[in-house]
């Protein structure tokens, strides 16, 4: 077994659990959208039952208050928190037909502890840009967005922080988060000391392949350009994943600058474009996709691709494998932020801190199978879920972490240039 084999993560994910979890959560979101009005009877009313957050300011809450006043209006991505387990048809918990629904154990505990309601809006965020489009006008007008807590990926979180649209977090309110956050998640150039955000969950970008189709194991980004895979390769349409990964490959070959992927500039992107151009022209690279590569894998039309870490493990077959490339991989984080003018800032801070309790973080991680930002989750999780505790998607080996890079945080001009380069490659 070579060194790379140990990074193959095809086993271990309870896919039924994840997929079913998101399906049920989707229904929950739908029901949530159908119900109107807020039942303001704390503490124990269920979250996720109210639609749009209550825009009216809470009487006793001021932005600088440390008194936790509800309700907490929390917008998150689909199935991005632990859900409640309901025994399925066989009436026994912990079997395959269990159902997963809101509310979540974590949210329930939070409500009981603080005596406030949580308006948790599951699947409110499906895409950074689309969600931002719904709250940008409020930011620009300087009014409350209606949300107290939102979750955005690094680059978008950076934009929000840089625009001054995030509330400064009171450090006294988040002692657990500051103490327990994994060290490598600190020091982001846009907010090095976690003054405006705390990480929610992370994921990686690497190489996915179907071992039956490729007939060999892949280990590096360079393997994507093996002639044998012509026409069966796709890259991600997310430029912040695809360009830095190819940049890493060019670096390994000594064909580009020494800039770290997170520091890559427009010239580096030009070199990536020049490298990929012939492969696109010859049809070796068939296209640039989002999550739809999952269907291409299952249909046999994609053999190898740049993919996000959890997808193939949770929705692919046993032959679909994920590797952290030898050149390095991308790590991205979704971050919890308090939008400027949030009415229940202290409640949001309390929630930020609440999920940094190691035991709760372990419970969330074991459910959603992403990389927890909390130190010590590995030990905590092994107490109740051995399988999850050994999964390299949740707990990446040190040699993988050493070669991991954050996504670049391009300025507006560079972003526009990279987008044009991408459009040229993608044929649009």
């Amino acid at each position: 077994m070579n060194d790379n084999d140990q990074h193959e993560l095809q086993a271990g994910i309870s896919r039924r659990r994840f997929v079913q979890g998101s399906a049920v959560a989707g229904i929950g979101a739908f029901l949530a959208a159908c119900t109107t009005g807020t039942t303001s009877s704390p503490p124990a009313s269920a979250p996720g039952q109210t639609g749009s957050p209550d825009p009216s300011p809470s009487a006793s809450a001021t932005p600088e208050s440390t008194e936790v006043v509800g309700p907490l209006n929390f917008a998150n991505w689909d199935a991005y928190i632990d859900l409640t387990t309901d025994p399925g048809a066989d009436g026994e918990e912990g079997t395959d037909d269990d159902e997963y629904v809101l509310p979540s154990p974590t949210l329930n505990e939070f409500q009981q502890q603080y005596g406030i309601e949580v308006n948790y809006s599951n699947a409110e965020i499906d895409d950074n840009e689309t969600f931002m489009a719904t709250i940008r006008p409020q930011f620009q007008a300087g009014v409350d967005t209606g949300w107290d807590l939102i979750v955005l990926t690094d680059w978008m979180a950076a934009k929000v922080v840089q625009a001054g649209w995030a509330e400064q977090i009171n450090p006294a309110m988040i002692p657990d988060a500051l103490a327990n956050v994994r060290d490598e998640l600190k020091g982001m150039p846009w907010d090095p000391n976690l003054e405006y955000h705390v990480p929610w969950q992370s994921g990686a970008t690497g190489i996915g392949y179907n071992v039956v189709s490729t007939q060999r194991d892949l280990a590096s980004i360079g393997d994507l350009f093996d002639e044998a895979f012509a026409g069966r390769v796709t890259l991600l349409s997310e430029t912040r994943d695809t360009f830095p990964l190819v940049h890493l490959l060019l670096q390994a070959r000594g064909e580009t600058s020494e800039n770290a992927p997170e520091e890559m500039d427009a010239e580096d992107a030009e070199r990536v474009h020049a490298f990929l151009g012939p492969y696109v022209e010859s049809g070796h690279i068939r296209g640039f996709t989002g999550n739809s590569y999952l269907r291409d894998f299952s249909g046999g039309d994609t053999w190898a691709a740049v993919v996000w870490s959890g997808d193939l493990a949770s929705a692919g077959t046993d032959d679909d494998r994920f590797v952290f490339p030898t050149e390095g991989s991308m790590i991205w984080t979704d971050n919890a932020l308090i939008p400027k003018g949030a009415q229940h800032k202290a409640a949001a801070e309390a929630m930020m801190n609440f999920v940094y309790d190691v035991r709760r973080a372990a419970r969330i991680a074991a459910f959603i199978y992403y990389i927890s930002p909390v130190k010590g989750v590995a030990e905590a999780i092994s107490e109740f879920d051995e399988e999850a505790a050994e999964n390299e998607l949740l707990f990446q080996p040190p040699d993988v972490i050493a070669k991991q890079h954050p996504q670049p945080n391009w300025d507006e001009a560079t972003e526009a240039q990279v987008n044009e380069l991408y459009a040229d490659l993608a044929g649009v």
Binding site: G283, R286, D301, A426, G427
Partner: protein, 342 residues
């Protein structure tokens, strides 16, 4: 009351007109203004910036070409598949007419996206089509795939918009008075031979050639004649046989002319959405099969380049309008466009 009679039609039209004004005219005026603006997202300013149009025209020639070619081929295929289908239902459907029509529309009960995705599976590398054509029969080379090719995109569009061709054709065929056909037969209308052999052969050869060229399996260069000529021969043979043996003179002289309004409406209804389609190219195609709709989508949603996207949208609208006017002139169906044949 009587004095205000002239008001009645306007009152009846008011909801529709209001709807059009709010959701068609107003957005289009806004788009027009956007297409002449410059600046960055958040603060676009109207500036009579005609460069948006010139750059939109010159920067995306491949995408415009793909749109016109794929849209045209899909319309052609819809016609070739849809006419016999509509004819069969209208003239031979009997008591199953309604059931057959329902079957044509039935796929529309599922979402557009799901239908495209199911095509990914059907024509996929491990899908049933290639399992038969490639793996069992061996008609195509072992490394032949469909996903990512123009064939996949055109096939997808054809499938998606086929009912738009079948329904208007069915309506115009169904209302044809059968006594006209009997009259034609009484006047010695017989099999369409030998004219049918020639006409069918020519049309079939042209369709075969157009498909090979449009789908990129052949070019006009001499080197691809070995691919082009057999396709044209096969198309010609099929067309000749069909027209020589299945098509009668009464059909050519009576049914076909009377169904022209349906044929016109059907092809317009197919051509307009298919030329602007981007979902099929996105999910079934590759980087080389992207249509102008994909560019507009990318400009709007990824690049935040609203002015270029708006300019492209207007150019697409203009192109479609011109194409339809020309088509209407050629087909001579003025009654559809408001005028009356003399």
């Amino acid at each position: 009351m009587r004095r205000h009679r002239w008001l009645i039609p306007w009152l009846l039209m008011a909801p529709g007109l209001l709807w059009l004004a709010l959701f068609f005219v107003l957005p289009n005026v806004q788009m027009l203004a956007m297409s002449l603006s410059s600046g960055r997202v958040g603060d676009f300013a109207f500036s009579w910036d005609w460069d948006n149009y010139t750059s939109a025209l010159t920067r995306f020639p491949d995408n415009f070409r793909n749109s016109v070619v794929y849209g045209g081929l899909a319309t052609l295929l819809c016609l070739l598949v849809g006419y016999p289908l509509a004819y069969g239902i209208a003239f031979r459907g009997g008591r199953f007419k309604n059931l057959l029509l329902f079957l044509v529309i039935a796929p529309f009960f599922t979402s557009f996206l799901l239908r495209v995705i199911s095509w990914q599976i059907l024509i996929g590398d491990r899908g049933p089509l290639l399992a038969v054509v490639r793996d069992t029969l061996g008609i195509v080379p072992a490394n032949f795939t469909i996903i990512g090719s123009p064939l996949a995109v055109v096939a997808g569009i054809t499938y998606q918009f086929l009912p738009f061709m079948v329904l208007p054709l069915y309506v115009s065929l169904e209302k044809i008075d059968r006594r006209y056909i009997e009259a034609a037969k009484d006047l010695y209308a017989g099999p369409w031979r030998p004219a049918g052999w020639i006409a069918g052969g020519l049309v079939g050869a042209a369709a075969g050639g157009a498909l090979m060229l449009g789908l990129g399996y052949a070019t006009l260069a001499a080197a691809s004649l070995p691919a082009l000529l057999p396709a044209m021969a096969i198309g010609g043979a099929i067309g000749g046989l069909v027209c020589g043996f299945l098509v009668s003179e009464s059909f050519v002289r009576v049914v076909l002319p009377l169904s022209l309004p349906g044929l016109f409406a059907g092809s317009v209804l197919v051509f307009i959405p298919s030329i602007g389609d981007f979902v099929n190219a996105e999910l079934l195609g590759s980087t080389k099969t992207q249509m102008i709709g994909n560019v507009i989508q990318n400009r709007f949603l990824q690049q935040n380049d609203y002015p270029t996207a708006a300019a492209l949208s207007f150019l697409l609208m203009a192109a479609i309008l011109v194409a339809i006017i020309v088509y209407a002139r050629v087909l001579g169906t003025e009654e559809l466009t408001g005028g009356r044949a003399a």
